[in-house]
């Protein structure tokens, strides 16, 4: 699974063009028995997995393929490029950093006025995208347009790295972690059939999930995600929101969803029974594809299982591999338990 996770994190797929991730997943699927798939009009990859038994309830397990990044909005006459964020990105996590642009992965940097020339007020003000430019080194606008064009996506630099304490640091852990977990589940032989959905456009408003949930029309849904951990220096108690190494995060509520109470309790009971660490979020924050899925058609009973992750939506998110393993275990146990429900 680490291999899939590392490879997936290194792929570049900002919302609206998830091709690189989808192609990789399809390549993996070709080697997996008992799967069939189709691509929906928005680009989501819907996979039917045959288990040992037919499913008594229709279960959809999803992860999103897209990542946050930027998009080129304008090419200046001096060859620099204007960019806007795609999804929730703070300008402070991109300034002074190397990035990749477009399908050809043209190397560039997000420039800023040097600190020596900033006024005291500027030094103390959070940077804004409107003041940043992307510099690929082009001599002028005409030369720049030979390499890039408005609409090209801009990616954080892929740099997957192992860190202390069985941790990894990378861009796009949100939600390549979910994709890796879902691939792992597809590689196993599950007790019951299920539908795996690799979704598009989560970061710009849960858009792929809305269309896919309609098509799949499930009774139950499990959303695999990465969620924000704030167990940072000096954080106490509930300020931490959730912690790395604390196991999968199962929320009762976030900004998009009031989760199914029975599934919530079921997840914690399973973890207790199977000795899997598990935690909930101590702040009502964030949201994920559950927001679109649970209100699809006449409603879908939904739970999200999330990997706790520090520095979400930055080029350097940090997650714990033991949590990733625990997410796989919990998801497969929960999927089975849902099927065996009356």
């Amino acid at each position: 699974m680490l291999k899939h996770f590392e490879t997936l994190c290194g792929l570049c797929a900002v919302s609206g063009d998830e091709t690189a991730v989808r192609d990789y997943i399809i390549d993996v699927l070709k080697e997996i028995p008992s799967v069939s798939w189709q691509i929906d009009p928005l680009g989501s990859l819907i996979v039917q997995k045959k288990g040992k038994n037919p499913a008594p309830h229709k279960l959809m397990i999803s992860a999103h393929m897209d990542e946050v990044g930027m998009i080129i909005t304008y090419v200046n006459s001096d060859g620099t490029l204007c960019v806007s964020p795609v999804g929730g990105v703070d300008a402070s996590v991109v300034i002074g950093r190397q990035v990749l642009v477009g399908k050809d992965h043209i190397h560039g940097v997000i420039g800023t006025k040097p600190v020596h020339l900033l006024s005291q007020e500027e030094k103390e003000s959070l940077p804004k995208f409107s003041k940043l430019v992307l510099d690929i080194g082009a001599k002028n606008g005409e030369d720049a347009k030979k390499l890039v064009f408005p609409g090209d996506r801009v990616y954080f630099l892929p740099d997957f790295r192992m860190m202390g304490g069985n941790r990894v640091c990378s861009k796009a852990i949100d939600d390549r972690a979910g994709c890796a977990i879902l691939l792992k589940l597809l590689e196993q032989t599950p007790p019951y059939d299920f539908t795996a959905a690799f979704l598009v456009q989560e970061e710009i408003g849960l858009r792929g999930a809305k269309a896919a949930a309609y098509s799949i029309d499930p009774d139950f849904a499990i959303v695999l995600e990465a969620t924000t951990a704030a167990d940072l220096a000096g954080a106490e108690g509930d300020e931490k929101v959730c912690t790395l190494g604390g196991g999968p995060v199962v929320s009762f509520m976030d900004r998009s969803t009031m989760y199914d109470r029975e599934l919530y309790t079921m997840a914690f009971d399973l973890c207790r029974k199977h000795d899997i660490p598990c935690q909930t979020k101590s702040r009502i924050a964030g949201g994920n594809d559950s927001g679109a899925i649970h209100v699809s058609r006449n409603g879908v009973r939904t739970l999200a299982i999330s990997l706790p992750c520090r520095y979400l939506h930055t080029p350097s998110s940090v997650a714990d591999l033991t949590d990733l393993e625990a997410c796989v275990r919990l998801t497969s146990l929960l999927a089975e338990q849902i099927m065996e429900k009356e």
């Binding site: 703070d90 402070s92 940097v109 040097p114 941790r167």
Partner: protein, 341 residues
């Protein structure tokens, strides 16, 4: 030449050398200087090479570039295992969130500067002061203490990379590109008889106030000293009065604190050897090692040759290779016609 220079810069930007902890880059610098000099030594951290015999009536010229780079020093490890730091040199604190860094203890430990993601913003977001910054390594305090201690240096962990149109990016190009220009100049004059003797200085602690250069210049006792450093290159929306043009060639310093004879001879050398150049007019001190050179011992004729660089003091500084190449040519051209001031 471009391939050679790119590889040279990659080699020079790879070893860390945060001010006061320049040993790794100093070792690299020494190994690059040895084939080009009569003798090389590391003295009080400074790397000093010598070329030619010093003789009365013949000027002794010092060419300097600083080895050190901006960064951090470890100040403490918190109970929950995060690393607190102080700054070494002028840092832009706006760009710290989620920045990749490398901690240089008894072994190198990768880390990330902590930040709060947008999901948890509560309206009190601000630019963190240096004391609010914390580095996440994944380790606990007990684990970290095996390898990391207060005083250890921390550098940005960003790769060197080529860009389009003969440009490159990376951390510490300030002033590793100045070192590259001096090495290129030395290669050019290798088999020539120069009208001067030369000392090459790769100095420490420039970012903390030209401290390495101050003591080295005293030791070397030159007649003429040139600081080869970087200067602001015009970027999008920058003030053209304060910046040079990327790709416009080396900038020759003209300032009340510099020797007009040195500035003029640099300009003559550029003109005679058809090397593109740009004037860099400053109204007082230069903010480079030339400021300490001019007041070394009883006074030294000082000059500056600067390479235009965008995004100074960020982990993604950007330069044009031709500017480094032409800076090397200009330094060689100057040495060829060097006369006492």
């Amino acid at each position: 030449m471009t391939v050679y220079l790119t590889e040279l810069l990659e080699q020079l930007t790879c070893p860390p050398g945060v001010s006061g902890n320049e040993t790794p880059i100093a070792q690299k610098a020494k190994s690059l200087l040895v084939p080009l000099c009569d003798s090389v030594e590391i003295s009080q951290g400074n790397v000093i090479g010598t070329l030619g015999k010093r003789k009365a009536g013949k000027p002794h010229v010092l060419l300097d570039a600083h080895m050190d780079q901006i960064g951090f020093l470890v100040t403490a490890i918190t109970e929950d295992g995060f690393v607190r730091v102080g700054n070494t040199g002028g840092l832009d604190l706006r760009l710290m969130p989620a920045q990749r860094v490398m901690l240089h203890g008894t072994k190198d430990i990768p880390g990330v500067i902590c930040c709060v993601p947008p999901h948890l913003h509560n309206g009190t977001e601000h630019v963190f002061s240096i004391t609010e910054l914390a580095i996440d390594t994944g380790y606990t305090k007990e684990q970290l203490k095996q390898w990391i201690a207060p005083g250890d240096s921390v550098s940005f962990d960003t790769p060197f990379h080529t860009l389009t149109d003969g440009k490159v990016t990376g951390p510490s190009l300030d002033d590793r590109c100045g070192m590259a220009a001096i090495l290129l100049a030395m290669k050019q004059v290798q088999n020539e008889t120069l009208p001067c003797s030369v000392s090459l200085l790769f100095s420490t602690q420039e970012e903390l106030g030209e401290r390495g250069a101050t003591i080295a210049a005293y030791t070397i006792d030159p007649d003429i000293a040139l600081a080869v450093d970087v200067t602001f290159a015009l970027g999008h929306g920058d003030n053209p009065v304060k910046c040079g043009k990327l790709g416009g060639g080396p900038m020759i310093g003209i300032s009340p604190s510099l020797s007009p004879a040195v500035s003029n001879l640099l300009i003559t050398a550029a003109k005679e050897e058809s090397i593109p150049w740009q004037p860099e007019v400053m109204s007082g001190i230069t903010g480079t090692n030339a400021d300490c050179f001019s007041v070394t011992r009883g006074g030294v004729c000082a000059g500056t040759v600067s390479i235009p660089l965008r995004y100074m003091h960020t982990p993604s500084e950007l330069i044009q290779l031709s500017d480094v190449e032409q800076t090397g040519q200009l330094l060689a051209a100057y040495l060829r016609r060097c006369v006492s001031c």
